[in-house]
Amino acid sequence: MADTIPVVFRPFQWVGAAVLGLLGEAGRLATFITRVKLAALTPWVFFGETLKQCIRIGYFSLPVVGLTAIFTGAALALNIFVGGSRFNAEQFVPNIVVLGITRELGPVLAALMLAGRVSAGIAAEVGTMKVTEQIDALHTLSTSPFQYLYAPRFWAAVLTLPILVLIADIIGVYGGYLVATGTLDFNGNLYIKNTMDYVTGGDVIGGLIKAAVFGGVVALMGCYHGQNSQGGASGVGRAATLAVVSSAVLIFFSNFLMTTLFTRIGL
């Protein structure tokens, strides 16, 4: 068929094929997400598996999320001090650190670390199960991979990322405190007082809502790309890469959407 199309029309054919491919992928992804959510809403047959995933996804991510938070908080304090000194606004360091960490950097950076650590891991694990026929074996054992594999990972990421972000918020603020009191001559008690006076419940809750959404994104992208992996080891590697890239892009995109929404509703 392609040979019969005049050369001058080939670019239209390429654009058309790309659009159709994109729409097809969007449709497959939407169907997959719906099936995972339906499976996640059915009674928890595999409670033990969900608990195991909570430990793998949440508990084992604590060190990397904690380290990211403390260095980010510290660097943020230094940057705000340098920037603020241009307007004689150095005293706002604690206020802006806590605002930046709780509303934006805590959830986004923790989610990005999870995209690298967890989404790739899920994609590689599910992808290996796919190419070694373990997913087929699940079907033959009357077990839905949506209930046994994907729903527990989805719940685990949605439930544990907000907890991780709450911890990251505290560690991030502490990182700012350490730099501010250690090198910028801030009074420790005053720093904590300014932080606590300025931060609102809405700042923290908004960040935790974002974290839950990002958790869902990370788990769904890992499962989706793992399930669609083909062609042995290279296919599994590609699935892991796609999971990380698509998770990161969707985290930034959904962060923008949620920030816009929260700003409008005054959260």
């Binding site: 199960m129 026929e133 373990q134 087929d136 074996a137 033959t140 054992l141 009357s142 077990t143």
Partner: protein
Amino acid sequence: MTQPLLQMTNVHKAFGPKKILQGLDIDVAPGKSLVIIGGSGTGKSVSLKCALGLMKPDDGEILFDGEKLNKKKAREAMLARTGMLFQGGALFDSLPIWQNVSFKLLGKSGTSKADAKDHAIETLKKVRLGSEVADLYPAELSGGMQKRVGLARAIATRPDLIFFDEPTTGLDPITADAINDLIVEQVKGLGAASVSITHDMPSARKIGDEIAMLYEGKIIWRGPADTVDDSGNEYVDQFVHGRAEGPIQPAM
């Protein structure tokens, strides 16, 4: 005449322009063992996947115990009465051996872990594996032992029909023969029917009551296992004797 336990009639399956199954007809009676032989890429695995519901055929009819398998409920009822041994074992890496064997029991019937483990150890004994392997993980076992565990998982719930996908591929001849003996012993012991696909002729001769040859998506010959060497069919003769010359072109 006994009603076939599994019946596939005029089944077609294509991937894009590539036609894999082109009117496949097979049936297997309760307690009987059918082996499907055929070269690489002739659609043997696709046939099994269609029978198990892992792939949807483009056309044709599949019946299990007289029930059409076009509804989810019928398919689930069928899967509850079947077992499957995958080519590579397809054991779950993250679970110990006993949980692999008792997976179906643990997932659905509310069996306690202790009972499921006892059942797994009993089933492992049937495939000549001791209780010491129960707590190991699949990666700690050899290929032959993994096949035995796969067989134990397939027979654990005493199914009426067992599928075997290349049960001896990748094994040395002695281990392969031991696996064949176990398959015959367990399938006959359960009184189950079986459908196996293989291109290993010693295995086909040993485990099959009947042998059918799949070529270009259709069954081109079927007969008792002991007549496969005198089939009178040039395609079967070429395959059985492993000759490069003949009507079948080597898959290169």
